[in-house]
């Protein structure tokens, strides 16, 4: 069947295998020459694409949960939506969550995902107690920061290339309920926005939406959202109706004029410099999940998300340079997302490092590859790197320059036989 990442580019025809037990999964994998694990398919590019994929959708069980300590062990196909449904009523919340609840725990480990709290709490894998991984060389093994630490450091952020993650055990966060107290700050330019970020470095959650089409003294204007878990009304928030985008929309909808208007509207919707509100946590963490299939907005040709991080010292100038390039080229469509990241960890291919990360969506156009190569150069020159979970186009050369520990990774992958069995379109392209 036809599969793709969330950006719907590239799309390929693949055999999709969906084992229903761990035993079936091991047997399935053993019967294939080459494959890649696939979770919720929420990576944007080609990291979960291969002619044969093994999908974890039927392995979505909680295996153990202690409501007293908040330690949970779950099968890799469990989604964040399922975790919230089961655990939030007990007052527990995932320690780190990405921006959509359709991500699976396996996908969150494989990309070592970061959330709006990275500056304080690190990435998802920093909260793992252990993993169970199906490896080519040693069968099913457990690993953790202390047990087979080399396999752990390679599998966390390893994009499915070391083996299939079967289950994960991690510590949850105690929360007072399903509500988030949100404080929104409007900032008229990038400098002002970065000042607000710095002033609120202690906020538990923070993220900014910026208007990437604003130029001149408005460059980088945006809205900084700060959040903290807060007690709220006893009644749980109502599940809102979720409209769906029923079909592909024509591509011009997201062309420059319409997008410039949308961005400006979003910015000006907030009238006052600072506003406060109590929001259901799902609305705060997963704003786009409110519209199912929103990726169809970009039309059938799909789109690319371009996310990179720049180290703290170089970040303000680097982000400004990228925004200038986008504005000059008239590229960049929906809202761009800017986040301050805290220090990175020891995982060999994990993306986060201390600095700023910016994510931009681009609809596919003929001149996009050349334009993105220009941005690549800016990112590399500023000492940054790209997020593999969003990538569908990076060159092996840029990857190797910006992920200097790739050789260590390749050696561990080889030690566990992953190089013989697990390959994605992305791993081939990156020369892994």
């Amino acid at each position: 069947m036809e599969i793709s990442g969330w950006g719907r580019h590239p799309r390929i025809d693949a055999r999709v295998l969906r084992p229903r037990t761990f035993g079936q999964l091991a047997a399935t994998v053993a019967g294939e020459v080459s494959l890649i694990p696939r979770g919720g398919g929420r990576s944007y590019g080609d990291s979960a694409l291969a002619p044969t994929v093994v999908e974890t959708r039927h392995l979505d069980q909680l295996l153990a949960f202690d409501p007293a300590t908040g330690v949970v062990r779950c099968a890799a196909g469990t989604t964040f939506a399922q975790l919230l449904d089961a655990l939030l009523p007990h007052g527990w919340f995932p320690p780190v969550t990405p921006g959509t609840a359709a991500v699976t725990v396996g996908g969150a480990v494989a990309a070592d995902v970061h959330g709006k709290n990275h500056h304080r709490d690190g990435s998802f894998c920093d909260h793992l107690l252990s993993l169970e991984v199906l490896t080519e060389s040693d069968g099913v093994v457990r690993c953790s920061p202390t047990e087979r630490p080399e396999l752990f450091r390679a599998t966390c952020g390893g994009m499915g290339l070391t083996g299939v993650i079967l289950a994960a055990t991690f510590r949850l966060r105690a929360v007072p309920g399903p509500w988030i107290e949100v404080e929104s700050h409007r900032a008229p330019c990038l400098e002002a926005l970065l000042e607000r970020f710095a002033a609120h470095a202690q906020a538990p959650y923070s993220v900014a939406w910026i208007d990437c089409l604003a130029r001149g003294r408005r460059r980088g204007r945006g809205i900084l959202e700060l959040g903290r878990h807060a007690p709220g009304p006893a009644a749980a928030p109502r599940e809102p109706w979720r409209p769906a985008v029923p079909a592909d929309l024509p591509g011009w909808l997201l062309a420059r004029p319409a997008m410039a208007a949308f961005n400006a509207l979003y910015y000006h919707r907030q009238r006052r410099a600072v506003t406060r509100a109590l929001r259901p946590c799902r609305a705060f963490f997963y704003p786009l999940d409110g519209i199912r299939h929103w990726n169809r907005l970009y039309g059938r040709q799909g789109f690319l998300q371009y996310q990179f991080v720049l180290p703290a010292e170089a970040a303000p100038a680097g982000v400004a340079a990228v925004l200038d390039r986008c504005a000059a080229a008239g590229k960049g469509s929906t809202l761009a997302v800017l986040k301050a990241l805290g220090p990175g960890n020891d995982n060999l291919l994990s993306f986060p490092r201390e600095g700023l990360t910016l994510a931009l969506d681009f609809r596919l156009e003929r001149d996009l590859p050349a334009f993105l190569q220009e941005l690549d150069r800016l990112v590399v020159d500023h000492g940054g790197r790209h997020y593999l979970a969003k990538d569908a186009r990076l060159s092996a050369e840029v990857f190797r320059t910006t992920y200097p520990r790739w050789e260590e990774f390749a050696a561990i992958r080889e030690r566990y036989g992953g190089h013989r069995r697990y390959h994605s379109l992305q791993s081939h392209r990156l020369g892994l």
Binding site: R20, F22, H58
Partner: protein, 244 residues
């Protein structure tokens, strides 16, 4: 509904329903034939706070009366019995092989009638409780692409209608759940799942609402009631020309 028995607990729809039936003091008795899958489903419900017992059995081969007696002995009072297993056979394979046809009728039809009849006796003695089975919209009208499956489902549906009549006004509720298209392992071979397809979790929400309130026939999602009313009403002259 605290004490729940599920026949075919490894089904994707049943698993989603069971998760939604979790509440403090929930107790489950799960029966299925794939022991590893059954243990996985049981571990999940236990992690969510339920007490769970399992039994591995092929529900076509099993002694229905004996199994139902064991369930009642284990749970004491049984609030809900859900028959959820099934098999969607390849219609062409059925047409070429009588054993294949009869097996499909046994899985989806006669074996379920056996369990329902045995359960009815216990529920009658208990003086209350709910008996539910997942049949299908395919029960509503025979069509060339799946009439073996549809006929077996219709057998169960008509049997349940009779039980409902028998128990009218006597506290035992009988629920016939008719899903439309649900994206589960049973339907994995169909590609291009369009607008009419639902997730197991979505239909589980509808099913739990039906189990909690009612007695009768429930189409899930609800819009299938209208679709099937049209399908049933079409004269054969038109129906036979449709690509169904």
């Amino acid at each position: 509904m605290h004490n729940v028995a599920i026949f075919g607990a490894t089904s994707a729809i049943a698993e989603a329903v069971a998760r939604r039936l979790i509440k403090p003091e929930a107790r489950f008795y799960l029966v299925g034939r794939d022991d590893e899958r059954l243990a996985l489903v049981a571990a999940d419900l236990a992690a969510r706070g339920a007490q769970v017992q399992t039994q591995v059995a092929d529900l076509v081969e099993v002694d229905a009366e004996g199994l139902v007696a064991e369930v009642f002995a284990a749970l004491g009072v049984v609030d809900l019995i859900l028959i959820a297993y099934g098999l969607l056979p390849d219609q062409e394979a059925c047409e070429k092989s009588l054993p294949t046809t009869l097996e499909a009728i046994a899985v989806n039809g006669t074996s379920q009638v056996a369990l329902a009849m045995a359960a009815a006796a216990h529920l009658e003695r208990q003086g209350g409780g709910t008996l539910a089975a997942i049949t299908s919209v395919a029960a509503d009208r025979g069509r060339r692409s799946n009439y073996v499956y549809g006929a077996a489902k219709a057998l169960v549906a008509t049997f349940l209608a009779g039980l409902r009549h028998r128990f009218h006004g006597r506290g035992v509720r009988v629920v016939d759940i008719r899903p439309g298209f649900v994206d589960t392992p049973m339907t994995a071979r169909f590609e291009n799942k369009g607008l009419l397809w639902s997730s197991p979790d979505r239909v589980a929400g509808n099913i739990v609402r039906a189990l909690e309130k009612g007695s009768g026939v429930y189409y899930v999602p609800g819009y299938w009631r209208a679709i099937m009313a049209v399908i049933r009403a079409l004269p054969e002259g038109i129906f036979h020309r449709l690509p169904l």
